[in-house]
Symmetry: C2
Subunit: 141 residues, 2 copies
C-alpha cells in the first residue's frame, strides 16, 4: 500500500474518495439500487468502463464494497456495500443536502434529498438496515 500524504482524517478520506467518480459509484449502490457493472456503466454521468473497473477494485481493496458471483448468472458480479461503505451514508446525505442548497440540481433530486433529510435519523437507520440485510445475505454464500 502507498504511503499516506498525512494521517489527517480529511486526507485519509480523500485518499479513498477524493476524485470525480468514486462517490458516484457509491451513490449508485447506496441510493439507486444498482448492483451490476453494466447498470453502473449506464448512469447519467457516463463513466468509462476502464475507470469503473479501476474504482470498483480500489473500493474493494479499501473494504468499502465486496464482489460476489450472482447465483443465477455465473458471469455476473454482484457489488454490495460493506459495513464501512454503509457507514458513509451520513456523509453522502450531508453532501447532497449542501448541494441542494448551494448548487443547481434537478427538481426530482431536490425532492428526493428533501425527503431523505426530512426522514431524519429514523429513515437513515432503516435504509442502512436494509443494506446490512443485503450484505448478510450475500456474505453467507
Amino acid at each position: 500500500m502507498k504511503k499516506s500524504r498525512s494521517y489527517c482524517p480529511m486526507n485519509q478520506a480523500l485518499e479513498v474518495f477524493g476524485d470525480k467518480w468514486t462517490l458516484l459509484i457509491i451513490r449508485d449502490i447506496m441510493f439507486d439500487g444498482k448492483r451490476y457493472f453494466r447498470e453502473m456503466l449506464s448512469s447519467d454521468e457516463k463513466i468509462a468502463s476502464n475507470i469503473l473497473t479501476d474504482r470498483l477494485n480500489k473500493l474493494e481493496e479499501f473494504g468499502i464494497l465486496m464482489k460476489t458471483k450472482d447465483a443465477h448468472h455465473k458471469q455476473k458480479n454482484v457489488y454490495s456495500l460493506t459495513e464501512r461503505g454503509i457507514d458513509l451514508m451520513p456523509v453522502m446525505i450531508e453532501i447532497a443536502n449542501w448541494s441542494t442548497k448551494h448548487r443547481e440540481v434537478s427538481e426530482k433530486d431536490r425532492i428526493h434529498v428533501g425527503e431523505l433529510v426530512a426522514g431524519g435519523k429514523k429513515l437513515q437507520d432503516k435504509m442502512q438496515g436494509e443494506l446490512r440485510e443485503e450484505l448478510a445475505s450475500v456474505s453467507k454464500k
Copy 2:
C-alpha cells in the same frame, strides 16, 4: 462555465470538491485558522503553489471563499469562507468522523474529531458563528 455532467446533487458537489486538494484547503481555513497563501502552502500534505493558486481561484468562483486585502500588509491576501463555505461544516465533520472509524488517523486528530462530534450541534453552531463574524468583518471593508 462548463456544462455539468449531470444535475445530481452528488455530482454537483464533486464538480466543486471532487479532487485530492480542495477539501484540505477548506479544512485549513475552517479548522486550522489559516488565512494566508503561505500558511496553506506549508500544511502537512505539501500542496504545490500552482495547485493552490488554481484551487483558491476556483473556490472563489464557486462562491465558497472570498479574497480580501490584508489591512496591514498590502501584498497579503486574506482568504475567508463565505456562507456557502461555512455551510460545508457538517460535511467536513461527517467525513472526519467516518475516517476516525475506518481509516488510520493520528491520535491527535482522533481526539480532536472526537471532541468535535461530542460537542454536537451546539459546538458546531458556535464554530460557524465565529466564522460568520469573521466574514462580516472582512465584508465591510
